[in-house]
Symmetry: C2
Subunit: 338 residues, 2 copies
């Protein structure tokens, strides 16, 4: 049940924002998909097989869309945005493969993970291959400023993952430290994906800053809503893949808030649940604590704050269809939570 | 017991070749070490800690030395070779961290691996961080041709690792297929390390080709000698860290040759030993089979072939101290086997 927010005169709900963006960039996306496939071919047949499982499954392509949108918004006329958009998706996919190894995950969005099917060694190495291909493709785009931004993002993402590992299973991490982690591990790639679109188009520093800021804030909002959805939507609907974070002992913002706001009993519950290495932790009890402390609702409120910042970041840019679509996308990211 | 091969009038043994190279590039190496340290600092304290374990342990710095030597050989006057040399070492270190996870290794050169001390998740993520930093540093050197070569190498290395994984524990892999694997997983980085030195110096295509070829052949020779040394030197001296490959079921050229040349009994032995997941496989029996089939001696003969190719690759370059040192380095790589 999505909140209806009208941006355009056409009164469409934000449900459609991602779909609209896909339609708007349909031609570019076909080329991105072709570039992804072309760069998966290898003498090692495991590589396309494993990559297909995770890339071919048809993700939202949110990050590549940021690159395409940003380039279009800045009037870019060339073809290099396709290569960078595909490289960004490869970086993201490499992260997913390694994350599942790090988190010992058997399921991702309800599907068996690559590491569950092919084992950890394959997931580590195919992730490394995708990272290598991503760099190769970025270099192929022949733009040093864009390379600078994307290689920076690669190091920062890994740094964020290490920070998360160090903080793992600690329910008493501060909200600010948790935000630092997701800023690095999630938002840095959203920011870079948008920024390089502007860089390719040789946009003004102000415009490039605006795109970077839009991407970063959108990334944080997106991650926080994902965090919330693992425990069901604000309107109490439990999605089909809920509880994955919880069962892996992954401390996310809902847990951080519920822990801080809880009494001694609930704090003990969270500590034990986050430390548990079996699958028997009481998910229903967790959801109950999240409801009673308003932790889910307020996680979405925090996400809304970043979504609003993302939209305001675009305010200096001249109105255009693409700008409208990006604003609607920010609303969509939040609306998913309801 | 090293074979004495005299290249210079000064009659020094090849034992000294690596040390001489270190002395010759002492000033550059100090800067490389400083660059390595500077790029390990991070808000995530695990990163310098783990990296120190593997980088600070003071490796041979063979790959960075190739970049430094190649740049010097081509008369390079700038400072960017330092950054590229350090980036190459980071790429190498990232590979080691991930390899140990993939191979489930507890020991590397007789020391506990990072994954043994800090666990697989940390090794995967710190490896990713080092790879990201390597790219960041390469981009900082602002040379697209060098970036092209190094990003290519990154993808090829991972591809080689995947090929090795697919061939793992198969004693009946062909020699050619084994060579394809080490060409990708080891020699590609040696080749790239040397090549980018020439690229920075804007050397002629012939010179750059020569450097690439030197690095590639040296890399293969180096890997084959390493393969042999895991079972002891040709002169029957068992080093202190022998048997690591064997106990991990890692099929290397000595095994490939011994398997092909063996009778039914020894083939069964190798099949079972390579499949074994415990540490009880009979290492003494393995060494005996390698001796009786001359597999160790001939692995070193194959390595010598590549060492000679490496030396001939440099023949078109004008004589210089650095060229002499690189030729001696190739001899040193082989002499280690005796």
């Amino acid at each position: 049940m999505a909140t209806i927010i009208n941006i355009n005169a056409d009164q469409r709900s934000t449900d459609d924002a991602l779909e609209e963006l896909h339609d708007f960039f349909a031609d570019d996306l076909v080329q991105v998909e072709a570039t992804l496939s072309a760069n998966l071919s290898s003498a090692a047949s495991l590589i396309p097989e494993v990559s297909d499982h995770i890339i071919g499954a048809g993700g939202k392509r949110l990050r590549p869309l940021l690159t395409l949108s940003a380039a279009q918004l800045c009037g870019y006329q060339g073809t290099r945005h396709i290569m960078l958009a595909a490289a960004v998706e490869f970086m993201h996919t490499a992260t997913l493969l390694h994350d599942d190894v790090v988190d010992d995950s058997d399921l991702r969005r309800g599907k068996p993970t690559a590491r569950k099917i092919w084992g950890n060694p394959t997931s580590v190495l195919v992730g490394d291959f995708l990272l290598g291909q991503a760099f190769r493709m970025m270099v192929g785009a022949e733009n040093l400023a864009a390379l600078d931004v994307l290689s920076n993002a690669a190091a920062i993402i890994a740094e964020g993952e290490v920070m998360q590992l160090a903080a793992m299973r600690n329910a008493d991490i501060s909200e600010d430290n948790y935000l630092r982690i997701i800023d690095a591990k999630t938002a840095a790639l959203f920011a870079a994906a948008a920024e390089v679109g502007g860089i390719l188009a040789e946009a003004s520093p102000t415009t490039i800053d605006a795109l970077e800021s839009y991407g970063r804030n959108l990334g944080i909002a997106f991650q926080l809503v994902d965090d919330a959805l693992d425990y069901g939507s604000v309107n109490r609907v439990l999605g089909k893949n809920t509880g994955e974070d919880f069962r892996e002992g992954k401390v996310t913002l809902p847990v951080v808030l519920a822990y801080r706001r809880g009494n001694e009993n609930s704090r003990n519950f969270w500590k034990q649940a986050m430390q548990a290495t079996d699958d028997n932790a009481d998910f229903e009890q967790a959801v109950a604590y999240l409801r009673s402390t308003a932790a889910l609702k307020d996680t979405v409120a925090r996400a809304t704050h970043y979504g609003e910042k993302a939209k305001d970041a675009l305010a200096l840019l001249p109105p255009s269809d693409t700008r409208t679509l990006l604003i609607r996308l920010a609303d969509f990211c939040i609306a998913r939570a309801y």
